[in-house]
């Protein structure tokens, strides 16, 4: 069995003079939940649509479940569930009719009890006409259609965009259930907390290039931390913030110090041994802060 469910090498795609993808390399491992993180226009949707042969890359190689989607798109799509970023459904049908129609295209492979179970979990009324559904409910129909045939790979473009927080959590649960039953999940998002809560690994895309691929936890761990130190008495703490990788954020009353530490904390802790420390706290940054550092570095370069 191939370990990489999605393998992308040197993927390039332009729309006229706009370079959407400028040479992307990605590997998504079997059975993982992989978050694809980036702001709007970074190239997330373009990448996902290339995986399904909806658009054709200018250069680069793609393998999905070991198959070249351009050579055999039907084989890829048979094993894949897809939720488009801009989901459009047939307004003249009910949710149930729409799902039946899509199931028809899959050769009636879906287990209808499972469809009903998914609809129940998402609190989706299948009897309602699609034209009467809210955007959130339409997305629920999209999620059900992506999951209903129990695909080996789920490609979801912003799956929780437009859902309320409770429903977002429900979707995350469904993704974890799909993973538990052996599926690989590749989802894009610009909601950092979502990726942080769900994905085991994350790729950050910016301006058509992968800025970083890492395990979500390690990305957060090895990035910046904030250290809050309270001293018993006023001290001259300058030696602390002149250490390599350490930056002063604030120092109030010469007793309350807040530092930003990049990388290992070891050096700072050793240096603190020479100070009358009353309290010491560290905070890990959210993925959002990590994410923003990539874009701040971009702005500085610019």
């Amino acid at each position: 069995m191939n370990e990489n469910v999605v393998l992308v090498q040197g993927l390039k795609k332009s729309y006229g003079r706009v370079q959407a993808l400028r040479g992307i390399d990605l590997e998504v491992r079997r059975g993982e939940i992989f978050g694809f993180l980036g702001p709007n226009g970074a190239g997330k949707t373009t990448t996902i649509r290339c995986l399904l042969d909806l658009i054709r890359p200018d250069r680069g190689a793609i393998r999905v479940l070991g198959i070249n989607p351009q050579a055999d798109p039907v084989a890829v799509r048979t094993r894949t569930g897809y939720l488009p970023g801009e989901l459009m459904l047939d307004d003249n049908l009910t949710a149930e009719q729409q799902l039946h129609q899509l199931n028809d295209l899959r050769g009636q492979r879906a287990d209808w009890h499972y469809v009903q179970q998914l609809a129940q979990q998402l609190e989706l009324d299948l009897k309602r006409p699609i034209r009467n559904l809210s955007k959130g409910n339409k997305i629920k129909v999209g999620i059900v259609q992506a999951l209903m045939h129990r695909p080996q790979l789920l490609l979801l473009d912003e799956p929780t965009f437009g859902l309320d927080p409770l429903m977002q959590q429900q979707v995350h649960r469904l993704l974890k259930e799909a993973q538990a039953s052996g599926a690989t999940v590749f989802f894009s998002s610009h909601i950092l907390s979502e990726v942080q809560a769900t994905a085991e690994r994350v790729a950050i895309i910016r301006q058509g290039l992968i800025a970083e691929v890492a395990e979500t936890a390690s990305l957060i761990n090895r990035a910046l931390r904030r250290a809050r130190i309270r001293f018993k008495e006023a001290v001259d703490a300058q030696p602390l913030w002149t250490m390599p990788g350490v930056k002063l954020l604030s120092f109030d009353d010469s007793t309350n110090l807040v530092l930003q530490v990049e990388g290992e904390m070891n050096g700072l802790i050793k240096a603190l041994a020479a100070f009358p420390v009353l309290d010491f706290e560290t905070e890990r940054p959210s993925l959002e802060e990590v994410f923003l550092t990539y874009y701040e570095s971009d702005r500085k370069e610019a």
Binding site: I55, V74, R77, Y82, G85, L105
Partner: protein, 282 residues
């Protein structure tokens, strides 16, 4: 492909019924006034003989003596001469929207994420459009047959299929032309406009070429020059019929080739960029 065909045909149901019923009703009205008009034959001939030749040319009676009162001529004059333009609207809208309609609505993305090849989608939809067109013609035929059972106007059941087959070939020409244009032009609306203009221009050129020799060369390139009305009841020109169908098949093949190669748009109507006018800055 059969699933795509079934789904597409189901979507055509309403259009087939509405176009078919409307034109069958028109046919029924035309047949039902035949007896009254035939009774007024002399007066009507006098009236029509005062019409300008240019006007008569549009009814397929430009350069020949008018014999309006045979059933074949009457049906041609009243219905068949205009049918390619009327049903041409259906053909142009159907062809231009066959795939790009869904693309612009944004539903093609989800559809093509399912295990269907682009070829199967293309062929399933195209075949459904052919069957839908045939369905409309069948309803029209039925309308005429029912109406004729109450009238003195009579043509053979099979004979009416002569001009209807010729009409089918013209309609398929415009379905596939619009489909091809929708593949190469940036929007459905533009494809429909170009194909619609060509349809109307063809009608004018073909009609007027019967009274103006200067238009004969242009008329050779008009598909409507190979459409038969009155003559097709008993003498359908198979070469013209097959010729139109072959051109339609060529358009379909080119459209298929283009559909295989192109990116599927996410949604919305695309457009050609017109360079913005560079206004001098103050």
């Amino acid at each position: 492909m059969s699933t795509v065909f079934r789904h597409a045909l189901r979507r055509f149901r309403g259009q087939v019924l509405s176009w078919g019923m409307a034109l069958a009703l028109l046919g029924w009205m035309i047949v039902s006034v035949y007896d009254t008009i035939a009774a007024q034959q002399e007066n009507i001939i006098k009236l029509i003989s005062n019409y300008p030749r240019e006007l008569m040319a549009f009814f397929g009676a430009g350069n020949r003596p008018l014999d309006l009162f045979t059933p074949e001529a009457f049906l041609s004059f009243e219905f068949l001469s205009l049918a390619p333009v009327i049903l041409g609207i259906f053909a142009v809208l159907t062809g231009s929207g066959l795939l790009v309609g869904d693309e612009e609505k944004g539903t093609l993305d989800l559809l093509l994420a399912h295990p269907i090849s682009r070829s199967a989608l293309f062929l399933g939809r195209l075949l459904a459009s052919v069957v839908a067109t045939l369905g409309i013609l069948a309803i029209i035929w039925l309308g005429f047959m029912v109406a004729m059972s109450w009238s003195t106007l009579r043509v053979g059941e099979l004979d009416l299929w002569g001009p209807l087959l010729s009409l089918l070939a013209v309609l398929l020409f415009f379905v596939t032309l619009s489909l091809l244009l929708s593949m190469v032009l940036p929007s459905r609306r533009l494809a429909a406009s170009v194909a619609g203009l060509f349809l109307v221009a063809s009608y004018f050129v073909t009609s007027l070429s019967s009274i103006n020799d200067n238009l004969e060369t242009a008329a050779r390139f008009s598909p409507l020059s190979y459409y038969q009305t009155e003559e097709a009841f008993h003498n359908l020109n198979a070469h013209w019929l097959v010729g139109l169908l072959l051109v339609a098949a060529l358009f379909a093949a080119l459209a298929w080739w283009q559909f295989q190669r192109r990116d599927i748009r996410v949604g919305g109507e695309a457009g050609w960029r017109v360079p913005a006018l560079a206004l001098p800055r103050r």
